[in-house]
Symmetry: C2
Subunit: 125 residues, 2 copies
DNA sequence: CATGCAGTACGATTGGAGTCGTACAAACAA
DNA sequence: TTGTTTGTACGACTCCAATCGTACTGCATG
């Protein structure tokens, strides 16, 4: 049984309006690799980002400024790109902002239980 | 529900004979970190080792020669040490051999579902 | 004791990842 | 048009992990 929060998907998938900006380049669901996903999640900052998206995203995607991370912008670009290229998040460009959400359906299908581990994670002391 | 193979623990825990060699230094169960475990499993060779231990271990631990890995011994030492220090395997010295098994109970308690992901993994083409 | 075997220790090398400053591009608002 | 905002691109630096050769230790067996 998924956690209570996970019961509500972070992003609606079925009734997706067709006028969304195209996602940035990302691996297809069938090409997701467990070792690559593990590698992307071995960084505490990226684990924090994915967990926060899972726990606090309601129906909206979020730009990377939303996280309030105390890092230079060029560092954040690096980490969001790493997450996207590993297949963990999808990013779309909305005007100035590049908004992200977790690829919940793809990840649950390929790696059942993985996102529950991320949700249950707590940052180091 | 765990996979069929996982239903039989790789190593008996309860009726453990008290005359076993002491385990090599390893993190306590309470100190296991998800990001560290993910890091250890982001290497395909280590993923292969853990999966093989989960799938093919019956009641015995295995020395690293058992895997038939085509790597120099010094490389294998490196990877088994990485797995042990991340808390994924326990190693005991039996005469010449240093035998390993997965810390199934500890990992299932701290990260439920993780080992099922490893079991379901398939090496890259 | 002498030999052989499992595995370690150490060191060198290599490549890649994390970090960040600076300069720049694109979109929007006044 | 000019300025502001969001984020990228590029490059430099540092550090760590992966790889492996060589020498060594410790145990076992004849």
């Amino acid at each position: 049984m998924p956690s209570a929060k996970r019961a509500v998907p972070a992003v609606r998938v079925l009734p997706e309006p067709p006028d969304l900006p195209a996602p940035l380049p990302e691996p297809a669901a069938a090409d997701l690799r467990l070792e690559t996903v593990f590698g992307a999640l071995s960084d505490p900052l990226r684990l924090f980002i994915v967990r926060r998206l899972l726990l606090e995203s309601e129906e909206f995607d979020h730009p990377c400024g939303w996280f309030g991370l105390d890092r230079p912008k060029s560092s954040l670009t690096h980490h969001f790109k790493a997450l996207r290229e590993a297949g963990l998040i999808r990013q779309r460009q909305y005007g100035l902002e590049r908004r992200s959400h977790v690829r919940v359906a793809d990840l649950d299908a390929r790696f059942p239980g993985l996102l529950d581990l991320v949700t249950a994670w707590t940052p180091p002391a």
